[in-house]
Subunit: 177 residues, 2 copies
Amino acid sequence: MSDTRTRILDLANQLTQSKGFNGFSYLDLAAEIGIKNSSIHYHFKAKADLALAMVERHRETTTKQFAQLDHGVESPQARLSSVIRYFEADLRDGKICLCGMMAAEFQSISEEVRRELALYFRGFQDWLSKQFSEMGHANPPQSALQFLSALEGSLLLARIQGDVSVVSQALDGFVNG
Amino acid sequence: MSDTRTRILDLANQLTQSKGFNGFSYLDLAAEIGIKNSSIHYHFKAKADLALAMVERHRETTTKQFAQLDHGVESPQARLSSVIRYFEADLRDGKICLCGMMAAEFQSISEEVRRELALYFRGFQDWLSKQFSEMGHANPPQSALQFLSALEGSLLLARIQGDVSVVSQALDGFVNG
DNA sequence: GATTGTATCTACATACATGTAGGTAGATAT
DNA sequence: ATATCTACCTACATGTATGTAGATACAATC
């Protein structure tokens, strides 16, 4: 386990969230980390390999975080609020959802990464669905899809409008209503 | 007014919707249109100029289309349905909202284009707000923001899931409910 | 008829992105 | 001690993106 590999993944993740996966190069990663770009190639032979590793890792991390929320937070409303605050925090650094960003870059990513993204969103929707089910919603999967859509869209809008509160304006109805 | 200029704008618009503004080059435009890339530079000195012209034109077009809907379609519900069908049609060609795509590319676009995008979304929200006002919603601007967020997000999700119906699942509640 | 403007071209300059080839220095295993 | 592995390096090859300089052909204006 090289620490460098983790640093590459961390940095690539941050840069993808702010500038998109096509918005940075191996040279950028190398310069920031303080090694040569060929060393990035040592860890991730091609940039497509980095994309896949990054999205896979993010999906695992997210799955664990959902499990932690299920154990540590009692009400589904409080869990949803917690998720919203998580994305708002990234947004304050100009970062949107990693997978939302890569979904916009759909056309330039590999079939494998597309599958991973679809699985991420599927997992997210399933988790949301359980929350809305607990909250007694009539159609939990649909509520989940509405929440997820509104989340991804509001992140884009909020960044353009320079107003983080757009996210809660778009989503608070799901937590209270 | 050269027809070439319009063809460049049309093609750039389509490519931005499917691959993003950073997803194509002047060489791509030139090859498709059948001229040399320096001729593209003749019409739009730098790519940033093309971006600005494209977004300005799109904002004007959209404003006119909203006015046409206001005149030609009687109920606000039918107008919203019409807007949804418009985006679904593009989505079937792998194209999402031009400004949603460019919002994802926020970090690499000029301050001027950012302002244009903010104006586009502001105009869109204001128009939606009028529709929800006519429909008797308690908080029209918030309904408008929720609709717009859900629209932009659902386009991303639908393309990744390969399922156009995601859009109507996310938005039908606004038209009926 | 001479000048200017429009729309295109050829040719080139610069920079950068992606990736390969092959080498090195230190740690680990046999 | 030798061989192999890990993590990095230098150097380079190739392709592409953006953009500039200057020429050309043709139409419109003066």
